[in-house]
Structure formats: structure tokens, C-alpha cells
Symmetry: C2
Subunit: 314 residues, 2 copies
């Protein structure tokens, strides 16, 4: 498969981004993906400025290829981290959970390519207006914080609405998903859940095993009541949250109930009490591979699927 | 685009099914789709046996091409209608909302091709075990009663799980969606929302206009509390239902609140109180066309998209 326009402009070999998963996507994972020819992305999440700077510097030691940083705009450290991006010469920033407008002139002047993650046409248009390089249209079949639109309907509608390149995310785990995303109009793809299987992904072994064991209906969405829906693997925590969400518990208590759960999953591997974020594609992720093996697999598989589509030609 | 195996086996010209939308998909719509080379499908919904027999006979007068009947298995008239299918020589039956196992030997002995609509791998395997001809894997971006999995993740996982041909549904409204569905492993597609725009679709003009005006985020899912989620266009009814769903209202009262709302939408065009079922693809449906125009458009567009994918070949 050719690398296409976005990969060319970013100086990467393959049009494959690794999703900026909070608590999960660190320098090790991002550098491994970038070394394998994709775009590795470190997640800033809610981490402080020192931690993020440290991860960026570590990634620079581990790879001389381009990598990105995902900034969660609601983070209390967003202002500081926005500046670190410029100081450290990070080439690509992806943004989630908010409007990146505030930092756009800072980043654009420094030559940082800004790629907001968008859940709808409205957010895509906002990104285009404020000078984004591209957008990641992420469907609600993905893991973690999700929007309501599915990849199948989001990607073509975003492509119709703006002139920027579109990266598709949500529900993509193999070459079929990549070929489907290209058919929908995307020029690259972002995968999160598939990279949970990577040898270089520093999650607790229990987390990885939960992904490998997951079937097609293993995930559930909680948090709709508070307007911040989150997809995770069904377990005791998700069941309990799903129950109390429909009671007269206060919003504060509900928030408190969920606090710290991601750390419990990623670091402690607490199968009952942790929140194991994963997308609906978890059912297609069944074995550990290195990032290099994953990316080689994806590209080869996408080639096969695109080749097979010829049988539909008249 | 070639018609492929399913279309060949069904004796239709194009691999395009029209969804069996209750209250909407009548003999006029189904016959128009079949005459245009797709597979038209009459919806039995909760209608009684006489009505369904009448619609089948009407369709036979309007077309000599194959058409199907969608049976809602929870209908109080399901037993009678199952027999009518055989008596009237209907070629294809699609089933929703339940397990078709009870009728499989009756239908298979009569040579009826049974194609259950499935929301998950478990239901797909059950269909395969009980002798289905194929399955329709329908993602939750579709309109009406929906499952939790999106088309992007459902279709490949169903393809991996069973050996039957798979028809993809949910979120498909143009050639991009068709090509994406084929990439995911489907051999045909089913579209519902797109056919709401058909000249031959006997819905109230207010319904059609609501679809034309819909943007990407125009739909909402209600009914999750009762375990029967339904996607419809946001309006006063959907907002009210969405509110009381999270209160201590009884399940019976909640059911009662929704009763008769589809009729109000389809027949009366009551924009405030009706339930206007539509999928997330409503944002891509913008103008009235005949069924023949829709199907010609879809096939031409899919051809273009599949041709364009060549630019990704090495």
C-alpha cells in the first residue's frame, strides 16, 4: 500500500497513527511505533509538565523519526504543555476534549502540525477554521472517551464538510478496517486498541490479557449521564457504575466513584476495580506482537483487501 | 460494480437490499426497489396477517422480480405470517427481534431463503446453526431498533465467525459506504435511511423533510433502560423520552409513553410527537429520487470509490 499524502507530509513511512491513550501511550510505545514507520504519539493525559517533558526527551533518545504528543485540553497542565511542545520541537500535536483554538497561533508559528480529534462535523469545521493541519475523525466504537457518531457515518460527513486531510479512527484493527477507512475518504488511520497488544506497550499483563480474551460484545459505554461517555471492557467496576448511573446519586459522587480507576487498570491490573479502556475492535485483537510486526501485518493485510476489491470491478 | 454471489443466488441485479422498516416499507417501496434491480423488502412489523398478505399480493402485481418480507419475530402475528410466506411463495425472509429457529424448517423445506438481521457474533452463529442462507450484520448507527456494535467492528467479526455470506447494514448511504462494507468482508449491503428519500416511499412529507434537513448529529438513541434501544431524529418526543428514562417512572409507563409514536410520524407527520426513525446516515440523505435513481447512483458511486482505491496500490 502506498503511504499517501499525510504520511508524506509528516515524513513517516506508513499512514498509521497510534492513538494517544492516556496512562498508556508513553515514550516506549510511541518510539517503537515511530521506529516501525508509523506515527507514535505520547499521551499527556492529566500528567504534569515535568512528566510530559521527560517522556518527550526519552522518545527523542529512542527514535530519530517524527512522533506526536496528544494533549487533553481539559488538563490543568495544558498551558504549560502547549509551550513544551514548542520548546522541545515536537512535530505533531493531536488534541482531544476541547477546543485547541487558544494554542493554534503559538503552534502554527512554531511549525507544529496540529491535528484535533473530532467527533462531529461541527468540531471538524472549527478545527479547519482555526488552522489545523488535518483532523482525526474518531467514531464511537473506539475505546476511552467517545462521541456518538460511528466511524462509518462520521468519516464521510467530515470529508464532505472540510478540505483538510482526514485520519479515520474508531473500530479499526486490521487491513479490512484500513481499506474501509480509505473507501470512506480517509487518508490515514489511527489505531488504539490494536496497539494495546504491542510488546512495547507498558500496560499490566492483566490488561493485555483482558483485551486478548475480549469478544465482540465485551465493551460497554458508561458515563452518558454526565455527558462524558467512556467505552471500557465490561467488569465489576463498569457494571457497578452502569447501575448507579441510573440512580439519584449526585454527579460529584458519580465522578468520585470513577476517580483513579484507569491507574488501577494500567498500573495495578486490578481486574475487578480498574477501568480497562478498549474499543469494540478488542474482539479482533488476539495476540502479542511487536509494533514492527503489527504495522507490517496491517500494511500487508490492507494491501490484500484493496487487491481483493478488484473482483467487484465490472 | 459486479453483482457478486448473493445477488446471483437471489436472482437480483445489484447487491443492494432495502431495509424492512416497520410502517414504512410497503408493497409500493419494495416493488420499486425490486424493479430497479435491488431487493425490495416489505416490513410486516406488528401488522396483522391480512394486511401482510395484501401487501405481498400487491407487490406481486407491481413487480415480477424477487422481493422479500421482513418479519418482526415478537409480533403477535408471527406464526400466521410465517405460514403466509410459504403459501404466497415469498423468496426471501429477513427476520429481526428474536430467534427465527422456530420457523426455519418450515421455510427451508419450502425453499425460502432466510436471512436473519444480527447485532453480534452470538446471533450470527445461532443463525448459521439453524440453517440461515445468509445474515445481515447491522451496526448500531442504523435507524430504528439497534444493537450496540458498530458496522465497522460488527461486519469483520461476523465474517470471521461464520461461513455464510454477510450483508452489511448500518450507516451506509452512498458508494463510499458500499465500498467500505465490501472491504470489511460483506458481499452485499442493506440501506434503510437512504430509501426514506425515495419518491415511492409512502411516508408523510414532514418525515422526508426531517431526513433531508438532518445533520450528522441529528439522531439520538432512546430506550436503553428497557434494553430496546431505538435511534430516531431528535425532536420533542425524543427529548421528553430521554428525560423521563432517567427518572423513577415505571417500565410500563415508559412503554406507554412511546406507544403509537411511529404511526404519528409516518402517517400523520406529527413533528413534535412522532418518533421519526432514521440512522446516522440521515446527514448524507439530502434529496428526493426514485428508487431507480437511488440504485443507479449507489452503483455508480461505489464503482468510482473502488476505482479510486487503486491509487493506494503499490
Amino acid at each position: 500500500m502506498k503511504r499517501g499524502r499525510i504520511a508524506e507530509m509528516l515524513g513517516i513511512e506508513y499512514p498509521i497513527f497510534q492513538g494517544g491513550m492516556a496512562w498508556i501511550a508513553d515514550a516506549d510505545l510511541a518510539a517503537a511505533v515511530s521506529n516501525a514507520g508509523g506515527l507514535g504519539i505520547i499521551a499527556a493525559g492529566n500528567a504534569d509538565a515535568d512528566y510530559v517533558r521527560g517522556q518527550i526527551r526519552k522518545a527523542k533518545e529512542l527514535t530519530n523519526k517524527p512522533f506526536g504528543l496528544n494533549i487533553m485540553l481539559l488538563s490543568p497542565f495544558a498551558d504549560e504543555i502547549a509551550q513544551i511542545v514548542v520548546d522541545e520541537g515536537v512535530q505533531v500535536v493531536t488534541t482531544g476534549a476541547g477546543n485547541a483554538g487558544k494554542y493554534m497561533s503559538l503552534w502554527n508559528e512554531a511549525g507544529v502540525k496540529v491535528i484535533p480529534v473530532v467527533p462531529s462535523v461541527t468540531f471538524a469545521k472549527m478545527a479547519a477554521r482555526t488552522g489545523a493541519f488535518a483532523v482525526i475523525a474518531e467514531g464511537g466504537e473506539s475505546g476511552g472517551h467517545i462521541g456518538e457518531l460511528a466511524t462509518m457515518t462520521l468519516v464521510p460527513q467530515v470529508c464532505d464538510a472540510i478540505d483538510l486531510p482526514v485520519i479515520a479512527a474508531g473500530g479499526i484493527a486490521d487491513g479490512r478496517g484500513i481499506a474501509a477507512a480509505l473507501a470512506l475518504g480517509a487518508e490515514a488511520v489511527q489505531l488504539g486498541t490494536r496497539f494495546l497488544s504491542a510488546t512495547e506497550c507498558n500496560i499490566h499483563e492483566n490488561y493485555r490479557n483482558k483485551v486478548f480474551k475480549a469478544g465482540d460484545t465485551a465493551t460497554v459505554v458508561t458515563g452518558r449521564r454526565l455527558g462524558h461517555p467512556v467505552r471500557s471492557i465490561k467488569n465489576q467496576f463498569a457494571r457497578e457504575y452502569g447501575k448507579i448511573e441510573y440512580t439519584d446519586i449526585s454527579d460529584e459522587e458519580l465522578d468520585q466513584f470513577a476517580a483513579g480507576r484507569l491507574r488501577m487498570a494500567v498500573v495495578e491490573g486490578d481486574e475487578k476495580n480498574g477501568c480497562f479502556l478498549a474499543g469494540q475492535s478488542a474482539g479482533m485483537v488476539t495476540k502479542e506482537q511487536t509494533c514492527a510486526e503489527i504495522i507490517a501485518d496491517l500494511m500487508q493485510d490492507a494491501d490484500r483487501v484493496i487487491g481483493d476489491l478488484k473482483k467487484w470491478e465490472k
